[in-house]
C-alpha cells in the first residue's frame, strides 16, 4: 500500500514522468489500435469474434524475425509480413472460418480459441519458447531534463509505420470498390448479396486483410519490443477491450480507445507494479463490459 502511495506521489512531484509514461503508452497503444481495428473489421463484417487475433500478431512477428534471420533488412519485414500473413489468413479462412460464419456466436469464439492454441503451439515448436526480437541498430534519443524521456528511433519509426498503415486502410475502405463492398456487407449481408456482391469473396478478403494488418503490427512489435509464442493472448485481450469499448464500425473510437488503453496500462504498471500489467488489461475488459451493461440497462424498458 505504501509503495502504491509512493508511486502516486512520484507522479505528482515530477510531472515529467507523466509525459514519459504517456509517450510510452501512446506508442504501445498505436499497435493495440491496429490489432483492434482488424478485429472490429472481422467482427463487424462477418460477426466472427476472433480469439486468435493476438496469435496473428505474434505470427507476423515471427515472419519478420525469420526474414531477418535470412538477411532481409528488418524494415522491409513489415510489408513482407503483411503479404505473407495475408496468405496465411486466406488459408485459415478457407479451411476453418468459412464454416463458422453462419453459426451461433459461441461457435466462432470456441473455434478461434482452438485455432489460437494450435498457432501458439506450432510457433513454440518451430521457434522455441525464448523471447525474440530484431535489432534495428538505430540510436536512442534522450529528451527532457537530464534525459529522463528515452525515445528510441526504432519506436518512432514503428509508430509512424503503424499510422501510415492505418491511414492506407481507411482510404482503401472509403474509396475502393472492394472497400465499398465490405462496408455494404457489414450493413446487410443479404441485401449485399441481392445487389450482386459476392459476399463469400468479401468475407475471404476481410479475414485475409485482418490477418495482414495483424501481421504488419507483429512485424513492428518484433522491432521495438520482444515476442514469444504465448504472448498472443495479451494482444487478443487488449483487442477485445478496445473493440468492446469503442464499438464496431467506429474507427476514431477504436484509435482513441487503443491509445487510451496503452496509456492506462502504463500508468497501472507504474502505480501497482509491473506484475499487475496483464491483470490491469483484463480488469479493464471487465470494467468496459459492465459499463456497457449499465448503459444498456438504462435504455432497456420494462413493464412493471
Amino acid at each position: 500500500m505504501d509503495e502504491i502511495l509512493f508511486n502516486i506521489r512520484l507522479l505528482l512531484d515530477f510531472p515529467i514522468v507523466n509525459l514519459k509514461i504517456i509517450i510510452d503508452g501512446i506508442m504501445i497503444g498505436a499497435l493495440f489500435a491496429l490489432a483492434a481495428y482488424g478485429l472490429a473489421l472481422v467482427w463487424g463484417v462477418m460477426n466472427v469474434k476472433n480469439l486468435a487475433q493476438g496469435d496473428f500478431v505474434i505470427a507476423g512477428g515471427y515472419v519478420a524475425y525469420s526474414l531477418n534471420q535470412v538477411g532481409i533488412y528488418p524494415l522491409l519485414g513489415v510489408p513482407l509480413a503483411f503479404v505473407i500473413m495475408w496468405g496465411i489468413g486466406w488459408v485459415i479462412y478457407k479451411t476453418i472460418i468459412t464454416r463458422v460464419i453462419e453459426r451461433d456466436l459461441f461457435t466462432s469464439l470456441l473455434a478461434t480459441f482452438g485455432l489460437a492454441i494450435m498457432m501458439a503451439q506450432i510457433m513454440n515448436l518451430i521457434f522455441g519458447s525464448d523471447t525474440q526480437s530484431v535489432d534495428l541498430g538505430l540510436p536512442t534519443w534522450f529528451l527532457g531534463p537530464s534525459g529522463i524521456i528515452d525515445l528510441p528511433a526504432a519506436k518512432v519509426i514503428g509508430v509512424a509505420m503503424a499510422t501510415v498503415l492505418a491511414i492506407a486502410v481507411v482510404i482503401f475502405m472509403k474509396h475502393s470498390r472492394m472497400g465499398q463492398a465490405i462496408r455494404a456487407t457489414a450493413q446487410d449481408s443479404r441485401a449485399a448479396r441481392v445487389m450482386g456482391i459476392d459476399t463469400e469473396k468479401v468475407y475471404a478478403f476481410t479475414f485475409s486483410l485482418n490477418a495482414a494488418i495483424c501481421g504488419a503490427a507483429g512485424a513492428i512489435i518484433v522491432m521495438i519490443w520482444v515476442i514469444q509464442p504465448f504472448y498472443g493472448i495479451t494482444y487478443s485481450v487488449r483487442a477485445f477491450v478496445v473493440v468492446t469499448a469503442a464499438g464496431i464500425g467506429n474507427l476514431p473510437g477504436v484509435i482513441a480507445a487503443g491509445l487510451g488503453i496503452g496509456a492506462a496500462e502504463q500508468y497501472g504498471g507504474h502505480i501497482f507494479g509491473i506484475g499487475y500489467q496483464q491483470a490491469i488489461a483484463v480488469v479493464l475488459l471487465l470494467i468496459v463490459l459492465f459499463v456497457r451493461l449499465m448503459q444498456q440497462r438504462r435504455i432497456r424498458q420494462v413493464l412493471k
Binding site: K49, D104, L105, L109, I117, V283, L286, L289, L293
Partner: protein
Amino acid sequence: MTRKFYINTALLILTILAPFIFPVWKTQLATLWLFIIVALTWDMTGGQMGYNSLGNIFFYGTGMYVCAIIAIGMYFPFGEWTDASRSETWKFTDSQYFTGLILGSLGAGVFCALCAYILGGLFFGLRGPYFAIGTLGLAIATGEIVSNIDWLGGGQGVSMPIYNGDFETFKNIIYYLFAGLGVSLFIFLNWFYKTRFGAAINAIRDDEEKAEAMGIHTLRYKLITWSISAFFIGVAGAISAFQLIHFEPLETAYQTINLGIFMVVCVLLGGKGTLWGPVIGAFMFHVFKEVTWNYFLGWQWVALGALIVVIVVFFQDGLMGYLQTRFPEWFGIKVVDKDEKEIIAEPAE
C-alpha cells in the same frame, strides 16, 4: 427399467472396484473423475441453461486457495506457512489432516457458491459471447492478481500438508473422494433435470425473453444453478489441491487454457444438454489426452487445438446428439411421418 437398473449397478460396482482392478491407473482414474465432475458442472449452465462460460475454472482455482487457507489456517498461521524463506518444517497429524481435508473442501464449495451468487448478479447481465468473454476475463484476472499477492504464496503457489501414511492409501483416498463427489453429482443432476427447476432452466436456454414473460424469475434460476455448479467445482478444486500437494496460481489453479477449456471440449465431445453426454465426453477426451500426451509429446497441444476446431466446426452435437438424431427410439422419442400414419421409429418397451 430393470435393464437400466442392472447397468447402473454394474457401473457403480466398477467405480468402487476400479482402483483394485487397475492399481497402476489410480491417478489417471482420479483425473477422469475430475474431468467428469467439471464437465457435468459446465453442462449445467452451458448445455442446460444456454450460458456458455469460459471461466468456470475460476471456481476451481478459488476452491484450491480457500481450501488451503482453511486447512492450513486452522492449525498454523497461513502467512508464515506460505513464506518462501520459512525455515522450520511443520507437520500435520492424521486427525489434523483429515479435518483440514473435510472442512477445507466444504468451505471451498460454500465459498465458491457464494462467489457465484454474488458475481452472477453482475455477469448474468451479459448475454451470449459477452458472457463467455467476461467469465474468461474473470478467470485470467483473478489468476494474475493472486499470483501477485505474497500472503497467498505469490507466483510460487502453496504447498499443501502431506499425508503421513502409505502413498497407495493416499491415492485411494483421493480416488474415492473424486468418485464419491462425481457419483453424488450425477445422482443429484439425474433428479435435478427432471424437476420443474430443470424445466425452467431449459426454458431459459430456449428463449429467455419468453421464459421471463411466462413468469419465471430468470435471474434467480440462473444464480441458483450457477451456485450449485460452483459448489461442486469448488469441492473438486479443493480435493485437487490435496492431490497435487503443491499448486501455483497460473498453471495449476487458474489454468484457463488447460482444464478451463478441457471441460468445454468434454461436453461438446459427448453432447451438450444431455445427462450422459458430459460423462461419455469426459471419458473420450481423457483417453484422447492420455494417448496424445504419451505418444505425440510436443505435438499434444496442436492435436488438442485441432480437436477443438474439428469438434466445433463439424460435430457440435457431440456423440449423444448424433445418436439422438440417428436412433431416436433409444431416447424414448417416437418419430412418425408427416401424415402421422407410418411409424418410422418407436422406443422399445
